[in-house]
Symmetry: C2
Subunit: 281 residues, 2 copies
């Protein structure tokens, strides 16, 4: 049962089905999403269960199933709620594609940091209305770049991907302590790292520790802290984004029209590796 789409009943995709309660309703999808987001923010993503959300709403568990077909749809609702925060408010999008894209990127990052669980479980993340709005806004931002469609779509996706990747790695690997520039790595992780290094199998990492900026006078724990601190500097986000956009901009300046597939101007081409990636030909 519960056929995907053919059966003649209502469609499976939540955005295509009207909200129940058009006539009488105690709750709404927006309210449910908001409550679920709050639970995820405060108690972690794993705390979001149908029972827990229902309880927070003051409703019976099964009542949720009249607003949502299953838990995946609740997650979709939650995700789209976050995408709503990603949108730059009307009229606040800067002029010039670079500034506009940067503004969108910074806002996205801030949203994902506010709701780190967004990146935790990331599959079943079908785009909803706010996702479409984000796409629209990115297109608007890219308008002044004067690029052909394909390149415009490429750059816009690139920024999304950069933001995603950066924020994801960041929320996983480095948890900045709240008080100042201190970083929280479990003592055991540090010990593991230290022990691994002591095997001597990592010459380049060990060389790092002899650098004047890292050395820390033989205190390896302190050295690790400094490395982690460098990698998790918040400015890295804007710096990397600027570099990415520099590269995009440089490519714009060179050939007039006609974009030309990948690796066009890679100075040394990694031929074998490229073949690997193009698996299906």
């Amino acid at each position: 049962m519960s056929n995907g789409r053919g059966g003649g009943g209502q469609p499976g995709l939540i955005w295509l089905r009207e909200e129940p309660g058009a006539r009488r309703a105690a709750h709404s999808r927006a309210e449910i999403a908001s409550v679920a987001v709050a639970i995820a923010d405060e108690e972690g993503f794993d705390a979001v269960s149908m029972r827990r959300v229902a309880q927070a709403l003051g409703a019976g568990t099964m009542t949720l199933y009249h607003y949502v077909r299953n838990k995946d749809e609740l997650l979709t609702l939650m995700h789209d709620a976050v995408m709503g925060e990603v949108l730059v408010p009307e009229g606040e999008l800067p002029e010039g594609w670079r500034a506009a894209m940067t503004s969108i990127a910074l806002r996205s990052r801030a949203s994902f940091q506010r709701h780190p669980w967004t990146l935790d479980r990331v599959s079943d993340t079908a785009a909803g209305p706010n996702g479409v709005r984000h796409f629209e806004q990115s297109l608007e931002a890219m308008e002044s770049a004067g690029l052909p469609v394909e390149e415009r779509l490429h750059v816009l996706s690139l920024v999304d991907e950069y933001v995603f990747g950066f924020t994801l790695r960041e929320t996983i690997d480095f948890v900045p302590e709240e008080d100042g520039a201190d970083f929280l790595w479990p003592a055991e992780t540090l010990e593991f790292f230290q022990r691994e290094l002591d095997t001597g199998a990592y010459p380049h990492i060990n060389a790092l520790f002899e650098d004047e900026e890292i050395g820390a006078g033989g205190d390896a724990n302190e050295g690790v802290r400094r490395i982690v601190a460098m990698i998790s500097r918040p400015e890295r986000f804007e710096h990397g984004l600027a570099q990415l956009l520099d590269g995009v901009e440089a490519g714009m300046a060179r050939p007039p029209g006609k974009r030309n597939g990948a690796g066009r101007r890679a100075p040394r081409k990694p031929a074998a590796a490229a073949a690997t990636a193009r698996a299906s030909g």
Copy 2:
């Protein structure tokens, strides 16, 4: 019970505890990880349960708990197994930092595509031995760039983040059909998109459809397919990476030493947004 690290018992981090079975053993962590990875590959990530893995090993469920403290540790094992595939084999790392980093990136992408579940559930992804090796290899790749430590670490992380973000978005949003250049989006998603567009609230997306490369003679479904096809072109990965590295390279050429925080040469600075991101600073 099961205190994090202080209690005086064995340490909590799996990499610090010796494998059981130093004297007698029926299985090994490597075998368990491999079996679990196979299950995830073939039956999806959700199929990986303690019972299922034990069954595949021909062991009792609880036996697993002598190799692993809990399911999170099993996931850690699986993740590190994938990180093993990310490593470029000894001696195959190309010369020159650009080619070397590109090679690592392509290999990473291939690994993540082989095991898409890696990106599915991405929290509880503590770095293991192969993660450290990957770090070592990235440092090796960056050696010839002649950058100061911090910038070297920055670029190396940047590539990781790009690969992560790109591959993640790709495996989520666009599922390339196996036969040729066809793309699989649920019909309902297309319908939702269409209906959303019909509201007229998306002028820039609608303008896309009037482009000569997208238009498709009024067939909006076909238009969407063409847009999705453009965004999910596999060459985009190398193209974007090349652009990112172009930006990095351009920055290397300009000032001699002394990197200088973020947004150094952004032509138009998004001041308000930058303040948002630097929340605690």
